[in-house]
Every structure is written in structure tokens, then in C-alpha cells.
Symmetry: C3
Subunit: 255 residues, 3 copies
């Protein structure tokens, strides 16, 4: 149904791997490289030209790389100059500006708005309508739930930008705000509708506006079984690299 | 202006009622049924194939039903396997996943993100950018104002999902969060920017983060006249089935 | 790359200034006027017909005016009956309903949702996903940061709408709510995740839910230098009319 080569436009130097499928009404601009078996669904724009294209002569579109076995759902806008590791998975209508660097196996859900010039580790999950500002740095296995916002200008409007930093395995619940320059450690949980205005140490549960650390996350019980829910890697494996073998066995393989 | 049959694509077994109008650049996939006099505006995708379509052989698109006299504004993405009663009205760029069941006369505004596998009664109004998670259950005449989020995973990430439940005639103001498994009764009002973390009894006004019941809603005065604003059905009838006859007369007809 | 005149449709009485560029897959409906050197990027809809078009005979599309030297990024939906001064700049996927009146040099970022029937002064900046309700009145140089919502119905649902009013040079941080009928003075700063439920006097810093005035904004220090950050016009000039000459010199020219 989806792949009829109708109104598909490819620019110059577009390199498609084996078995790549491009949906109808999709445009891929110059200098885009797409890995094997990747699907770019319909009505998408990949390698969207940057601002200079419109206003400066001699513009050349920077390279865009989308890894193998990826699935970009319809109506994506991905700017030239961003890179994505293998197994990228997106929802619909994502907007991703230039200079975003994603590791492998990342999820970027429907309506997510990634401002570019930011780095993301492997296995990050950015859910619906997440807004990530420039100069953000996310570790591996960071999950950001819907409508959470990262900010970088603490005295707006100013010329002084400080992106937030988030450590590995940290989870931020829906509708939260991370204020400029804040560092959230690894293995943290931020409760829904929080404003994170101060640095948060590893293994903290913080909640509120401003967010206060109220517990060690290892004290939060599971809803599915006796015992602790966090670190969540012992209770959740779907789509994670430790699926089938367990987190400890996988961790040891990493060393 | 809108209906020129330009770049319109219809799949197999698409059944269009009388006087249905389809906008330019719209695609309707297999097994979609659209009732009489319905308008599907331009640049929409109706019957969007589910995940299995891309990765499994022998995929057959589940049935999608949109009732009569509906108006789906432009740039909608509606998945195969969702059903909508008559008189559906949407804003632009709605995204509705599979397994959503809507009653009649519902409104789903611009940028609303309905995750599917959820049920909605009649006359629900989901305003701009509302995000409804899977396993949510909304009654009749439930109004959800912009940027409110329903959640279903209380210890994210986990494998244990509990959708919120909302009773008839309940109103949730902007920018609120309903936490997993929460039941909000009927005839409630939730104030702007609240986090609803506990069940809320019928006829309550609750506000804050976490939301606390501060009053009976029947104590909240109207801004338009002497007396109480709630239950709102005595003060608001535009588009409601009691328009012209009053809520009590209509209620009696129901029995 | 962008301007190939592919699937571009122009209605009746579309007046394009000199050097206007229209992106592929864009439709411009009747009675739209676009100033010199303006770019309307791809996949946009300009002069979107109002509701009456679909249901009433004899519909005539109201005039839409976009000023000179403007840049409307892709996937915009701009309704008939809105006007924009020169140097408009938009992000992607903006939705702007009828009856919006924008001054010159305004920015409307990605996914902003402007409900129409609202007025905006010059040099306003509405960042990503801002939601502005009907009957809002914004002064000049008002900056509204992502996911902030303006509301107009204080006892929803009712028939009594009161839009918020915001004075010149006021800044509203991310994820805030402005409740119906509230007047925020000029030169204010509203902190992230606030609910503004009462009028706010000029030069106030207010924060919280409900927002309380905690300081005079002139007491808030800069992160870039010794001294105060606000009024911000002494510390920020990029894109502002006082760029290169300073705020005082520019102010004097205005008188
Ligand atoms: C962090 C979280 C798990 C804490 O919930 P919890 O452990 O069930 O909290 P408790 O039941 O121990 O509640 C302790 C108190 O904090 C309150 N509370 C819980 N979460 C809160 C929040 N996010 N904001 C404000 N108050 C909150 C509770 O109401 C309770 O107060 P009370 O006794 O006065 O009613 C929950 O807030 C949360 O954010 N869940 C994740 C939701 C989400 O985004 N899921 C992913 C998308 S589906
Ligand atoms: C629920 C609601 C109607 C309550 O407003 P209200 O009855 O006018 O409240 P009151 O005037 O009695 O205010 C009582 C106190 O609560 C505060 N307050 C009101 N709403 C609040 C909110 N949502 N969050 C935090 N505080 C709130 C008021 O500031 C006041 O405190 P104060 O005296 O210290 O200033 C209002 O909060 C609301 O949510 N309105 C709906 C907005 C909306 O989403 N409309 C639909 C979209 S247009
Ligand atoms: C208004 C603002 C600048 C105030 O920050 P600030 O001056 O750094 O505040 P302070 O450092 O003096 O903090 C005072 C207290 O208020 C808290 N606080 C700061 N901002 C808060 C907010 N928005 N909500 C709740 N609490 C807040 C701080 O945590 C601190 O409390 P603590 O000492 O108990 O931790 C900040 O809240 C803000 O909104 N920044 C703008 C973010 C933004 O939207 N930028 C534009 C988009 S990039």
C-alpha cells in the first residue's frame, strides 16, 4: 500500500542501502545516506536544507546519515547535518533540526521536537511531544516521557546557553521541565510535572516544582511483583540489549 | 477550492457513503468505510497500516469506520482499526492509533495524539494537543482541555499498564496529568496544571500537584449569571443534545 | 532544491510580490497577498478556507496578507482572514486560525497553535508548541517560551470568553498557563511551569502555581556579566530593532 514510488523525489548524492523503502510524497535532499533495510514512510522530508540554503549563495547540504534497519514513520522532517545510528524508530511528524547525534536503537515518538546540536546515547526513548533544546547531552537508555521540555536559556532572552545533561538509565516522567544547565545523574526518576532546577545525584527520585529528592529510587516498589522496581533494568527488557539474558549478564559482556 | 481529486488515492474495499468529499493529496487505505456526507479534508491518511504491515507477510488492513456527517480536517493520520460514530469533528494534524473507539459527536482538536486501544463515549471533546494513552476509558460528555496528558505506566518503564477512567460530564482543564490507574468520577472539574494521582469522587473540584479536592463543584459560581456554574449542563448547550430543550428535558427522554 | 514548482496550486486573486518563492506541494487559496521576497516553503496551505466554506453556499475566502521578506517554513496551515506584518518568520507545522493580526518581525515557531481572533504587536516571539487562545492581546516584544498556554474560558465549558492581555517586553518561560482574563503587565518575567491566575504588575517576577510575585525583575542578576539581566533589552539585541545602537538610542528614536 505504502510504496508506489508516487511523487518521490531524490536529490543529488542520495545513497540508499539494500532494500530501502521510500513512501509516497517523500523528498530526500542532497547528501543523505540511508542504511540497509531502512523504511522512510510517506510524506517525509529527509535532509531538510538549513537556514543558509535560503539566503546564501554556494550552499551545499551537509551530510545526513540514517543507520540500517530503521523505521521513520510518516511526515518526518529531518534536517541535513544530523546522524542516527542503526535501528532508529520514529513516530509520526517528528521534527529534528541539524547537528543532532543519535546513538543506535533510539526511539523518537510522534510530534517530538528536537532542536538540534544535541547528543543522545544508545537506546534513548523520547516519547510523544518531547522538546529537547540545543546543547542537551543524554546518556544511554534515557527515557523521556511525553511533553517534557529541556531548556537552555536561564535568563531569557540571553546569549548564554547551557544545555541540560542526563546520565544513563534515567527516566523523566511526563510534563516535566529541566531548567538550563542542570545535571541529572544516572539511574534517576523524575516524577510527572516536575521542574528540575538543581542538579540531581545518581539514584535519586525527585518530584515537584521545584523538584526535591524525596527518596532513593531503590526504595520504590514494583507494581508487578514483590520488591523494588528500580533500577528498572532488572524488571524491563523489551527492546533492550539485555532482552533474554538479563541485565547483569549483558553488563558483564560490555567489559 | 478543496476538492479537485488531485493526488487522491483510494485502496481496495474503500466504501464511501453518499456525498462524501475527499480533499487533495489524501490517501485512504484498504477496508475503510466512511458514512454519508462526511468530509475528509486534504493531506490526510485514513486507515494507516499498523506496524505488522511493514514487517510481516500476509498483512490485511483491519476495518476503519468513520460515521456519517463527519468532518476530518486536513493532515489527519487515522490508523486502521479505529472506529468513530457519526458527527465526528477533528482539527488539523490529529494522530489516532489503532483500536480507538469513539462514540458519536466527538471533537478531536488540532494536534491531538490518541494512542489507540482506548474508548470514548458520545460528545467527548478532546482539545488541542491532548494526549490520551492506551487503555483509557472516557464516559460521555467528557471535555479535556489543551495539553492534558493521560498516562498508564506508573513505574516507567514497566510491563504493567493501567489506563485512567473518567466519568460522564467531567471537565479537565489545560496542562494537567492524570496518573496511571486513576479513576475520576462523573461531574468533576480538575483545575489547570494539576496532577491527578488519587481517585476523585463524583462532583469534586480538585486542583494542584498532587490534586486535592477543595470543593464540591456545585459551589463554584458562574461568571455569566447569579448562581452555580456546575453541573455545567444547565449553563452550556452549544452542540450538546439538549440544545434548545434543556438538560432536564433531554435527560428524561433518555429514560 | 526546494522550488521546482511541483504540485504547487494557486487559487484566484493570489497576488505575489517580486521574488516570492513557493515550495513544492504547497497550496495557496483565493485572495492571498504575499509581499516581496517572501518564501513560503513546501507542503504548506495558505489561506485555508474557514468553516463556512464547507457548509454554506456563496462562500468567499477572506483576505490573507503576509508581509514582505517573510519566511514561512514547511507544513504551515494559515487560515484565510489573518494578517502578518513584514519579516514574519515561522518554524515548521504552525497552525494559525482566522482573525490573527500580527505586527512586523514576529517569530512563530514549530508546532505553534494560534487559535485566531487575537492580536500581536511587533517583534513577538512565540516559541515551539505555544498555544494562544482567541481574544488574547499581546504587546510588542513579548516572548512566549515552549508549551505555554493561554486560556479564555474560566468556567469551562461556558459561553463567556476573556482572553489574557500581556504588556510590552514581557517574557513567559516554558510550560506556563495564563488563566482567562488575566492581565500581565509590561516588563514581567513569569517562571517556568507557572499558572498565572491573578493580574501581575509591571516589572514583576512571578513564579509558581498559582504564580506569586516574588521579586522585582530588576533584582534578577545576569549569568553573563555583573549586574541585572532585566530589563533584558539592555542585554539582548539579536534580531531586535535596537541591534547595534542600543535600547536607549532606539527608544529615543521612537519619540
Ligand atoms: C514518580 C511516581 C511514580 C510517584 O508515584 P508514587 O510512588 O505512586 O507516589 P506515591 O503513591 O508514593 O505518592 C506519594 C505522594 O506523592 C503524590 N504524588 C505522586 N506523584 C506525584 C507527582 N508527580 N506530582 C505531585 N505529587 C505526586 C501522591 O499523591 C502522594 O501524595 P498524597 O499521599 O498526599 O496523595 C509518579 O509520580 C509518576 O510520575 N509516575 C509516572 C507517570 C508517567 O509519566 N509514566 C510514563 C508515561 S505512561
Ligand atoms: C479551576 C479554576 C476554574 C479555578 O479557578 P477559580 O475558581 O477562579 O479559583 P479562585 O479564583 O477561587 O482561586 C482560588 C485560589 O486558587 C488559585 N488558583 C486558581 N486556579 C488555580 C490553578 N489551576 N492552579 C493553582 N492555583 C490556582 C487562585 O490563584 C486563588 O489563589 P490566591 O487567592 O492565592 O490567588 C481554574 O483554575 C481553571 O482551571 N480554569 C480553567 C482554565 C481552562 O483550562 N479553561 C479551558 C481552556 S480555555
Ligand atoms: C524564572 C527563573 C529564571 C528563576 O530561576 P532562578 O533565578 O535561577 O531561581 P533561583 O536560582 O533564584 O531559585 C530560587 C528558588 O526557586 C526555585 N525555582 C527556580 N525556578 C523555578 C520554577 N520555575 N518553578 C519552581 N521553582 C523554581 C529554585 O529551585 C530555588 O529553590 P531552592 O533554593 O529551594 O532550590 C527560572 O525559573 C526560569 O523559568 N528560567 C527560564 C527557563 C526558560 O523557560 N527558558 C527559555 C526556554 S530555553
Amino acid at each position: 500500500m505504502k510504496f508506489n514510488n508516487r511523487n518521490v523525489v531524490l536529490g543529488a548524492n542520495v545513497r540508499l542501502g539494500k532494500n530501502v523503502r521510500i513512501g509516497d510524497n517523500t523528498t530526500i535532499y542532497d547528501n543523505v545516506e540511508i542504511g540497509d533495510n531502512t523504511i522512510i514512510a510517506n510524506d517525509s522530508v529527509i535532509g531538510e536544507p538549513q537556514h543558509a540554503y535560503y539566503f546564501q549563495g554556494g550552499y551545499s547540504n551537509p551530510a545526513t546519515v540514517i543507520g540500517a534497519n530503521s523505521f521513520v514513520r510518516s511526515h518526518a522532517i529531518i534536517y541535513a547535518g544530523s546522524t542516527f545510528g542503526d535501528n532508529l524508530n520514529t513516530g509520526h511528524r517528528v521534527t529534528i533540526r541539524e547537528g543532532a547525534e543519535f546513538g543506535t536503537n533510539c526511539l523518537i515518538s510522534t510530534l517530538a521536537d528536537i532542536q538540534g546540536n544535541a547528543t543522545f546515547g544508545d537506546y534513548c526513548r523520547l516519547y510523544s511531544n518531547v522538546h529537547i533544546c540545543e546543547f542537551s547531552k543524554l546518556g544511554n537508555h534515557v527515557f523521556i516521557y511525553p511533553y517534557t521540555i529541556f531548556t537552555n536559556d536561564s535568563r531569557p532572552p540571553s546569549n548564554h546557553y547551557m544545555g541540560p545533561t542526563v546520565g544513563d538509565y534515567t527516566i523523566i516522567a511526563v510534563h516535566s521541565v529541566v531548567l538550563p544547565g542542570v545535571t541529572i545523574g544516572s539511574n534517576c526518576l523524575i516524577g510527572a510535572n516536575s521542574v528540575v532546577s538543581r542538579d540531581i545525584p545518581d539514584f535519586s527520585f525527585a518530584v515537584g516544582s521545584p523538584a526535591k529528592v524525596t527518596r532513593d529510587i531503590r526504595e520504590i516498589g514494583s507494581r508487578e511483583k514483590e520488591g523494588a522496581q528500580y533500577p528498572w533494568m532488572y524488571n524491563f527488557e523489551r527492546g533492550m540489549p539485555w532482552q533474554g539474558i538479563g541485565f547483569d549478564a549483558w553488563s558483564q559482556q560490555q567489559h
